[in-house]
Amino acid sequence: MKKQILAVLSALAVSATALSACSAPTTGNVPDSSTTSGEPSKAAESTETTEAAANDNTGSERKVLKFGQANAGDGLDMQISTSSRAASIADEITESMLRFTEDNEEVPVLLTDFPTISEDGLLYSFELKQGVHFTNGAELKASDVKFTFERMFTPDTGAKSTAYFKMIKGAQDMLDGKATELSGFEIQDDYHFTITLDYAFAPFLKNIATSYADIFPEEACRAAGDKWGFGTDLIGTGPYKIESNDDSTQVTLVKNEDYHGGEVNLDEIDFIYYDDDQTKLIAYENGDIDLADLNASLLSQYQESHGDEITAYHPLGTAFISLNLKADYIKDINVRKAISLAINREELVDTILNGAGVPATSFLNNSIPGHDDSLPVYTYDPEEAKKLLADAGYGDGITIDAEVRQTDQTVFAALQGYLQEVGINLNLNVVDNATWTSDRTAGKIPVTGMTWNALYPDGDFQMYNYFYSKNSDAQGVYYNNADFDKDLDEARVLTDETKRAELYKDADRLLSLEDYACIPLYYPQSQFIAKPYVKNYKVGNLIYHFFDVDIDAAAKAQS
């Protein structure tokens, strides 16, 4: 009966559509999805689709990849956005001088080779590849690189990730509004320039390989003003260029025919925004998208039906309980140790996360140099935890306030249970992102959840901005250990990676095994789901890149 009713309803709806179709708002220049959609179920439809696609493309099969993800909503200018989702799109269009491959190895992109570094580690000399063009036709020159960095340090730009670059000489003066030019940036000719740092800083070479240092064409970027990163106002040297972008439903990228890195595999990538995970996966099943990230909460549901299409990967991050070391009870190391002992991390990962993670052995992610592979998973010993609390004078139980975001709610509900067992009552308060952000910055949150990711495998990235004494205040942590700071300071200036790893190993030990300044929980696993005809797709860290991916057109036509 219900089916009949629905059929009647839809019939009525069809007539209603027909009546008012002429005034339907459609999105910008987005092509009609029915001509390119993936997998029609009926044979008749399938023929039609292939024919339509063939007609569109002068005989040859166009390779179109449709990728579904949520909309970051603050544009594609990676000086302003810090979202990995925005970076997934932006990095196909704009490029940094160097970048990390999906195996997390650094390679030159816009440079002929890695820059040479002076003995004292202060002067970096760069040589740009010649004949690289932005997709608007302008040639990439040293002046564009200078412009990009100066734009980043101009206060009006509102760039968010200046912390990774402000060791460039003169950057702080620009940020303070005392200068309008970057004194540490010198142009020799169109293809040669040098960057001078205020102090030797080993990870600088890696920082300029992140999306935050994507190089923009001076003229076009200036002309776009604060519209840069919105609509089609983002131009780079990358393998793809924006064909259309309505900022709210879809971004369509097409192949850059003159890409300096050689032939590009795909003709088109459509980034389709889905804010609802369930809807995204239904769209995937329907063939509207070929590839999507798969949230852990939906993993078990799709593992059964689409197990072969799911691939797990491990971002360079750590999920941990972030503590305010000035807060009541938390300031007592015995309480922090007791919290750690109360948690069964293996069980947490197996049950709450459906196995999507690796139980933590220390703070530093297990793929980052310096991580001590010999360490066991943190001990689970509730009896010992109770004893510690009793010795510290909290035998009657204590109540600690926690404020978390919705993403951490499930894990923290489980933690609440573990802590209850040892006499710690975790008073859990779930708030929205904006409330959490300002409360945390203000140091008002004693206990919260956090996953801190590194954009490349380096201990500095994962530890310095969160736990270094000078920085941990802004994170609401207030960690201050001179030995830890010393390790990080030393590692920053060294160029010998083996020695650096040793220092990070020691820093990690101080932070997470001696001081218990945070309670590491697990190294997260993420996963994506892809149709069988999506080839060579791999994700090495946080950001989804589409440099090597290809589509098996024959297999797609058959599916």
Binding site: P25, G75, K227, D247, A283
Partner: protein, 308 residues
Amino acid sequence: MWRYVLKRALLAVSIIFSISLITFLILNVLPGDPVAMMLGEFADANKIKEVRHNMGLDLPLWQQYLQWITNLVKGDFGSSYFQKKPVLFLILQAFQYTSYLAAMAYIIALIIGLFMGIIAAVNHGSWLDRFLMSISVLGISAPSFWVAILLQIYIGLRFKIFPVSGVQTSIGYVLPAIALGTRYAASISRVTRASMMEVMGQDFIRTAYAKGLNPFRIVMVHIFRNALIPVITIIGADIGSLLTGSMITENVFNIPGIGKLLIDAINRRDIPLVQGGVIYVAAVCVLIYFIVDVLYAVVNPNIRLGDK
């Protein structure tokens, strides 16, 4: 009549003004700082203070409100903090989607609701009446996201006629319109039935039947027309709520309408966009009720007579 309309119009304007004041105050006592959101994870307290100062967010509240309301009267809604576009532009863009969805959903709701209501009233007490009214209870109680997901899975995925999400083509509106329209259809059918039953019990209807008039004519002209007043009220309220966006349906079907725009803005504390959006919602509701009030007066002279 004109005095009545003028009085209603003045009331409407003062309601919008009060709402603007209340929204402004609420947004300013809400926890969460847009500046902290804008600056990202490396912002320290000093930087936040500096940016707040530059944006004029450290001025006394009354001064900020005055500034905002003056601009508003001039037609300047300000710009979104995060999307860097004029608020009015964003609202009008989202309104296109919402209004189209609302129109389709309501056409569906009206056709089904009125039809069901009339059939049920004419056959009141019969199995058909009971059946239709139980369906309407189901329609009112079913949460729209649930109906939405059922439609996506059982209609969209299975038959591949309607897209499961997205409104790149107008056919994409069909499933969301049904999901959204169901509840309205259900309430329209119940109100239509109840008010028709009331009219049916009155003397003039019995007289009409006794005179041997065509029963279809009696139902459609004498009963239905007289039963319309409560229906118009509910239509007014429904259209108001439809035009101000349905967050859940828009989210599930990926439609960038008003509901989605506002929720995103609230989550980020995009204050100019939230304020502009609330003013928009208030204006639409007030306008609809104003039209309903005037329509009342047109349909039922007693109302405007009582006003004199």
